[in-house]
Subunit: 343 residues, 4 copies
């Protein structure tokens, strides 16, 4: 059994990790930390976990965490970078669901996240944890930077087009919509039901923290820098991300459908829907799948890719477990065979 620790177990990504790991046949959750809830049973705070998780919140402690085989950070940004070095020295593998190790340029990280990076030495070593692009490196990684939710949906949609050079990489548009659980479990006015229910809006149009992450990763695929307009929106629902991606085709190759199907033929969690489909976030809710459709409306030179995930699963905890499976030599999909909850 893999002994797993979760630092920051009271946010939505933490709870989602617990939901998934509770049923993982090769994992035992041995430590769940929360500074504010030390001594409380996890299932007292989260009755959804009654019967599934039999643990008490503890304070984060390097010694205790060092007994784990893997530690997941489900913390706010700025925490993992303070503890990663010590845990690695104890031989613990780390999967960081926060943003601390996602950007390769420490200066850019500091610009967007508003604090100095406490552990720049590890940035180079950290492997970006998108299995569909970095599988080999993840298998050998000690430290994985789990991708953001928006970046996961956007990358999986743009990758086949950028890698093949079929689209103009300088004017990409990602119009992306997210359920409110993406904002996390924090006492804030903005995400009250009375504020977000029955309403829809864009936010952060001037610049969202996921923008540099997406640009960095798309540039790798395009083998050149990319230009991206990224507009996130808030959907009056809890789970799900829908990315609507627009790009100008350089050339008309005929079947974009085949291109996508071939690209993802061996990817268990990326599912290219039949031609003319419209993926629906409900169909991946609670599952680790990404559903993708490709359209070329009226045969014009603008391609439209629709990409949906559950922001807490493939956009966070599910992808983290997928990375863990790779890092420990397990079958990639083990423990992740959840079927979406419909209706």
């Amino acid at each position: 059994m893999i002994r797993a620790g979760i630092v920051g177990g009271t946010g939505y990504t933490g709870v989602e990790l617990l939901r998934i790991l509770a049923l993982h046949p090769h994992v035992e959750v041995s430590v769940v930390t929360s500074r504010s809830d030390v001594g409380t049973r996890v299932d007292a705070l989260y009755p959804s976990l009654r019967g599934a998780i039999n643990t008490v919140f503890s304070a984060p402690d390097i010694a205790e965490l060092s007994d784990c085989d893997v530690v997941f950070f489900a913390t706010p940004n700025g925490t993992a970078m303070l503890m990663a070095q010590q845990l690695l020295e104890h031989g613990v593998k780390i999967i960081d669901l926060s943003a601390d190790f996602r950007l390769k340029d420490a200066a850019e990280w500091q610009h967007w996240y508003g604090m100095e990076h406490a552990c720049p030495a590890l940035i180079a070593e950290a492997v970006y944890g998108l299995p569909e692009t970095h599988r080999a490196a993840i298998k050998n990684a000690r430290l994985v930077a789990n991708p953001g939710c928006y970046p996961t949906a956007v990358q999986l949609g743009f990758l086949p087009l950028l890698e093949t050079g079929l689209i103009d990489p300088h004017h990409l548009i990602a119009d992306v919509k997210s359920g409110v659980s993406g904002a996390g479990r924090k006492a804030e006015l903005a995400t009250l039901m009375s504020e977000t229910g029955e309403s829809f809006k864009a936010y952060g149009v001037a610049g969202h923290r996921h923008l540099p992450e997406i640009r960095q990763q798309l540039a790798l695929a395009a083998k050149q820098s990319v230009g991206l307009t990224f507009v996130p929106h808030l959907i009056p629902m809890i789970r799900g991300i829908h990315a609507t991606l627009y790009a100008r085709l350089n050339t008309d190759i005929g079947s974009l459908q085949s291109l996508f199907e071939q690209k993802y033929a061996d990817e268990v969690f990326v599912d290219v829907l039949p031609a003319n489909s419209h993926p629906d976030t409900r169909n991946v809710r609670g599952s680790n799948f990404c559903h993708i459709s490709i359209h070329q409306p009226q045969g014009q030179d603008t391609v439209v890719v629709l990409s949906v995930i559950d922001n807490l699963v493939k956009g966070a905890a599910g992808q983290a477990v997928q990375n863990m499976n790779l890092m420990f030599g397990l079958p990639e999909q083990i423990g992740l065979n959840m079927v979406a909850l419909y209706p």
Copy 2:
């Protein structure tokens, strides 16, 4: 492997059966019928099942269904009673999720369901499929009448009080609220999102079809006829039932909490929450649990029981699989260890 057939696979209880059975280690779904979708892949209609169910809808056919070990009816009322006798003769076990075999009095059934019963001979044989009250009979049953969603939540909440004679059985009140999936997957104005979203109402106060079912079963527990005021309401959400039950105490025994805890100590799917809790439907969403709390406000003689289930799981498909496990001698909880989807 148990070969399972589902008759009426396009409603919400049918899809939910597929979601659960797809991951059940001892079941193979061999037949899924739908008259209106013959030849269509199940996952074409329900993309949530892509990768989980690899079947095509067929027309309901006794010969084909007779190859199954068990057939689930997830049909509208009035269908199972037409096919049950033949299937039983072929040695097929039947679990009927519709109401055809729930009422023991054929005349009453005809009154509430507005048609003549086509198969009254089987009514007596049919076992009411609430494992918490009829476990032994279910294990030996050929034909199980799976309980209604409201009746499940109400019975589990009232049972400990009625069996012990602690409450006045003549003036029970069940104020029950359900998500809209309980109304089924039918093209109707009343359950459009524009009609039910952001709104709340009671319905069927004059008399709902689940009233005689609840009365029949509570009378068994009370060993006398009961009086019940049953008021169902529609919640602007998809899944979940919340029963708020009121009764007058005959005597004050002190700890109702202990009574409930002892009653359900060995029941894996009935979970009595700690004292002073308020169960939340989200904590059982997608799972087979019933969460129950007991209150005696201001120490007065009115007891308040709060009982929540997922109407499609413990209120339908999950309970059906629990019954199947019992009928085939499997561990009762196998294939049902889903953790609720929170948030």
Copy 3:
């Protein structure tokens, strides 16, 4: 023009007052206070009021408020009682939407609200602002205690039965459900969309602050003390209260429908629906109406009353304006002819 001030203009009842008063033909909103937003335009915080309210938030100041003809307190509990005496001395009429002057027993108020009452001398003078029961007194009042949202819905439903002595007053049951806006505009985990969306629960079963208020007022109607079990629930929607009321009939008078119709024949804002109706909260959303239906299921001795209001209108700001109209000798319905927003 009546010069109106609003103390505490940033909560949902404050904004709702502004929505209504902006279109009232005899009112000019001259002061809106908010300690935390001094100097900010009201419509900068609430763009829904752009073009309707042309005011800047100021700090609460007795001198400035004394220029008003009426001051509404849309503050948390404990504020109005600190300012009321001084404003009255300046000849300002007061309508308090908080709970400071609702309970006639200061000791009980202190028990439920957890603080000492700062102005017990005014409690006796304060008029309970339910026009349907206290119209004459309201017309002459200097200080009106605007009722709570739950108490409004519950009283209007029980009154005809209690006043006529038709029901047992010792075992009343009020199973009441509210949208989340009733919890106010506060940064809290419990009312995040991720916490309350797609879920339903009871809360405060052991005792809610509206319980003593309801009991006090029902006792006036019954001319004796009453026994009440009050169970509030949270609905996953924003606006609306649905009260489902249960009582035991002492005698069967035949037409409860007529009783209610006659009782409310002259009440412009209490609308008794036709027999066998089920009121829906959507049909009063944004309006000052209370819709009521009466049922006697299966002709038994338990009567069921269904009563719905918009918690922010008839349950708060609309009722406050109705009271203001009465206090200033205006037609009761002026400025309140909003039609509910359906769908």
Copy 4:
């Protein structure tokens, strides 16, 4: 008083017309037709209108409608074109909320709407009812084609940029999201709450009926044909449209904010928010406003315009009343001073 008739009073646009006209000081609703509800009181079907509308549904009848000064068609497509000629001959003004007279090219209309146009002679005369672009013509019109909901939001956002030639008109992108009430009041599976709640998807990417309407009108503004990629999405809420518009700037003029503010300075219902704002659909819910924001993220050459309306008000019934006011020489905003319902 203007005598108004509504043909097709049972859909959401019909009910919304009734909500608005009930309070219009110069309008008397004299006829409301519905073939399926002849003889039923309007407020029996729509209790939200109790006390506001005192009319009975009648069958559509030219003679009766000819007594009206104006007739609104709130019918499915294909009805208004059958009755318009006769009503005009009787001197009745017509405002058609369906699509029958929106497209100037009858062949294109037939292509998109799948039927032959029954009244092509009137197409040329019909005035496109967007007051912000056709005010003068509307004032003198006998027949107004009320714009679609998506086209209203998209046009108001793109107009200032296209009229000034600042953007490339050949590659416009409109990523638009709508609440489900836009789908109308029809018994359909696709808009059940269980299907659309808690989910988000695009639809009609290959081609939506509003595409040719938007292209036609944008071409007028651009004085050349335009290229448009139009992707509609369904939001899990009832009311509201959010258009996110993307275009490539030909030149950088500095302040796009000023351009928009000047363009709409005299438009009472188009409200350009302060720089860096994000309009929220809730802030126009129930009102006739369009809120607009302009962004140029990271100073790049892609401009992003955010435009929100209530699809049933500025996108349908409110705009129709605005047109009526113009046609009858009334102040444009009379009867339309609704304040949005927040929260």
